[in-house]
Symmetry: C2
Subunit: 255 residues, 2 copies
């Protein structure tokens, strides 16, 4: 199925679920929509923290068509949106047309699905995918570099791999420097402030088996977390796992 | 002489001239200072046009100390500043303290001095430097990607090289992707809208000798040109050739 058709199905409500695995080799994006008065601080935050916040595209105030997604409409083409007001989740909706403001600036942010596909293409299994779960995500003590009103710590995603595969996995993800890149930490969770690996802050827990090593990547949930700290009057993001699907090939982000 | 001492001499008026060649292997930067209300559009413009507008650092509203220049003060540490109001040059001064506003955002932008040093280090002469002139710069028909109120064409710098050296020069400058990178054009000036190579729009004319080829790079004058098109109530930039000297080694920008 081509991406135009996938977006049409999402827009019309034929597809309402998570988007993992439905777009083949096409880039999926995290979404953050903010009023323009916050846009400079956010873009500067992204520039200073490229690993957790790799910007794919910025839609200027009032724009809702992505240049990387033919005939798209950012107000309708994500399966589920979270609406946050003053830092609190107030509603989850499948269409934000009624919330739209002419001063909304939209940021499309890289997603780990891109490097996960490259890991799978190398013939390496990813445990949470095999088990049909969401990836495990944790708040850490790794500080981001603040910008304007935005500051806070990095959120990471964790995937366990057999010890002998870790170097290869690191190499594969290093090849996508603008899609979170290589891991920010390998091994002992407590070294980055994670006290209980069995209780992720977001997503689903995953067992670390005998001979497996936990590997941690900067995660696209970081900007959402950091923005909510600042309690803007409104932030719209995708609901976890419910991404915006572009027409860009994952390979275009390979260095 | 170390960079702290050079900046001190500039601050106290002991050094008032151009900065070409005075900072050894340290990065020199173009300067653009704008009120915060223009900062998002400018940063987005830079992101979309990394070749002419490679951002080294952003100083947030009211900040005047560069983190890449110890004990610096951006209000005094550039030998000469141009003050533009509503798109017109109104004054050239050696200190902008009296113009300073708490909402001023400062952008430090990469400069071709970095790749010129790498060309010289390879034992290749650069003609305008040998002749003690400023580089020749031209308006072109190469469009930038607009952002908000900022739009316009690319300004290029031109350096002639013997035909047999051109490939090497291209390779050297390609190694500095965040300092204008490789050339945007090689050869026939009319192909990029330059009708009279003997009459540059900025800087000094330079003769293209027998067996020499003109090579064109995206130039840091582009953002100044583009900002002035938009006629903001105030823009402060360095005067041409009078740059801000950082403590960063040029080599750190080599890929």
């Amino acid at each position: 199925m081509d991406t135009i058709e996938i977006r049409r199905r999402i827009r019309t409500g034929e597809h309402t679920g998570p988007t993992s695995g439905i777009s083949g080799d096409k880039v999926q994006a995290n979404l953050a929509i903010l009023p323009k008065k916050y846009a400079f601080d956010f873009l500067l935050f992204a520039m200073r923290n490229n690993k957790p916040v790799p910007i794919i595209e910025v839609l200027e105030a009032g724009e809702y068509v992505s240049r990387y997604a033919k005939d798209s409409d950012i107000r309708t083409d994500v399966p589920l949106y979270n609406i946050y007001k003053d830092g609190e989740l107030v509603e989850t909706v499948d269409d934000i047309t009624s919330y739209w403001q002419d001063d909304f600036v939209t940021f499309l942010i890289g997603c780990s699905f891109t490097f996960e596909q490259a890991i799978l293409d190398a013939g390496i299994n990813i445990k949470h995918i095999d088990q049909g779960r969401n990836v495990a995500m944790y708040k850490t003590n790794i500080e981001t570099e603040s910008a304007g009103i935005f500051h806070g710590n990095t959120v990471v995603s964790m995937r366990p791999f057999k010890k002998e595969l870790v170097d290869q996995v690191i190499d594969i993800t290093n090849d996508f420097p603008n899609m979170h890149g290589g891991p920010v930490h390998v091994g002992d969770p407590s070294a980055i402030g994670i006290n209980n690996i069995d209780q992720p802050d977001y997503g689903d827990a995953i067992e670390i088996g005998e001979g497996e090593v936990p590997v941690f990547w900067a995660c696209g949930v970081t900007p959402q977390n950091v923005v909510l700290n600042a309690k803007p009057e409104i932030l719209i993001s995708h609901a976890p796992g419910h991404m915006f699907i572009t027409d860009i090939n994952n390979e275009e982000y390979k260095k």
